[in-house]
């Protein structure tokens, strides 16, 4: 097969994408999976939940986060690297202008924040976002 420069770039991009998807599992990945499955009743499809969080949080004791997913009836927030992954669940109603909630959370170390949204029809989607933590919250 003739390998053009363009093919090579496409291949490299593909490999990079695969690498990103298969990030190493955290120690509490099992607990995260259990919490997600309990909430969603299965593994949700990925993407579709907006997570607004600082890229670098200086103080893990109070990290502002915001989650949103259009049409969601509830959103579960998890911190994958905390001793206990659970953070909060927001429940919306037909009087919610947007399925969006914001709060401040504790992060023990640099980790991924996971958000799972449950839609009115029962389908679920999940997104992740990494937050780097300079000084961890919890413990002390």
């Amino acid at each position: 097969m003739e390998m053009t420069r363009r093919d090579l770039f496409a291949l490299a991009a593909g490999l990079a994408a695969v690498g990103l998807i298969s990030l190493p599992a955290d120690a509490s990945e099992e607990a995260v999976k259990a919490a997600v499955e309990k909430f969603a009743g299965g593994m949700p499809k990925s993407g579709g939940v907006e997570i607004v969080a600082p890229e670098i949080a200086e103080n893990g004791n109070t990290v502002p986060i915001e989650v949103a997913a259009a049409g969601a009836t509830s959103i579960l927030v998890l911190a994958a690297g905390n001793p206990n992954p659970g953070v909060a669940t927001f429940h919306f109603s037909k009087m919610s202008a947007e399925s969006r909630g914001a709060t401040r959370i504790r992060l023990a170390k640099t980790q991924e924040v996971v958000a799972v949204a449950k839609m009115a029809d029962g389908s679920t989607t999940m997104s992740r976002r990494e937050v780097k933590v300079t000084i961890g919250g919890c413990g002390g």
């Binding site: 004791n61 109070t62 990290v63 502002p64 915001e66 911190a79 905390n82 001793p83 206990n84 659970g86 953070v87 909060a88 669940t89 927001f90 429940h91 919306f92 109603s93 009087m95 919610s96 202008a97 947007e98 969006r100 909630g101 914001a102 709060t103 401040r104 959370i105 504790r106 992060l107 919250g137 919890c138 413990g139 002390g140």
Partner: protein, 108 residues
């Protein structure tokens, strides 16, 4: 504790169907149960575990909170209202005590 005090920021008026942002805060230590005291014993967990907002008696937003919520839990959400009424907030502590606040909103 006597210093637990809820505060909210709610617009007093809104247009029908307009998105309004509700900001709430309650001063509370949110003791996670993970920390150890000076004697080396864990400090028992004591957090606000539930927040509910109702409008004219109907639940419009709620949140289940766990120890990973920062001290002085801050919660922000949005609503769109079609009629005037009373927005009531209730925070529930692990020990069963509740703290509440009411705000009237005029929709016109």
């Amino acid at each position: 504790m006597s210093n637990i005090k809820p505060r909210v920021k709610v617009p007093s008026t809104a247009k029908p169907g307009e998105a309004i942002v509700i900001k709430t805060l309650i001063s509370h230590p949110m003791e996670s149960g993970q920390r150890k005291g000076k004697d080396g014993k864990p400090i028992p967990r004591k957090i606000i575990n539930k927040f509910v907002a109702t409008y004219n008696g109907e639940e419009v937003f709620s949140a289940d909170l766990l120890p990973a919520i920062a001290a002085n839990p801050y919660i922000e959400f949005s609503l769109k209202l079609n009629e005037s009424g009373t927005l009531k907030f209730v925070w529930t502590d692990d020990d069963g005590s509740t703290f509440d606040l009411e705000n009237k909103i005029k929709v016109a």
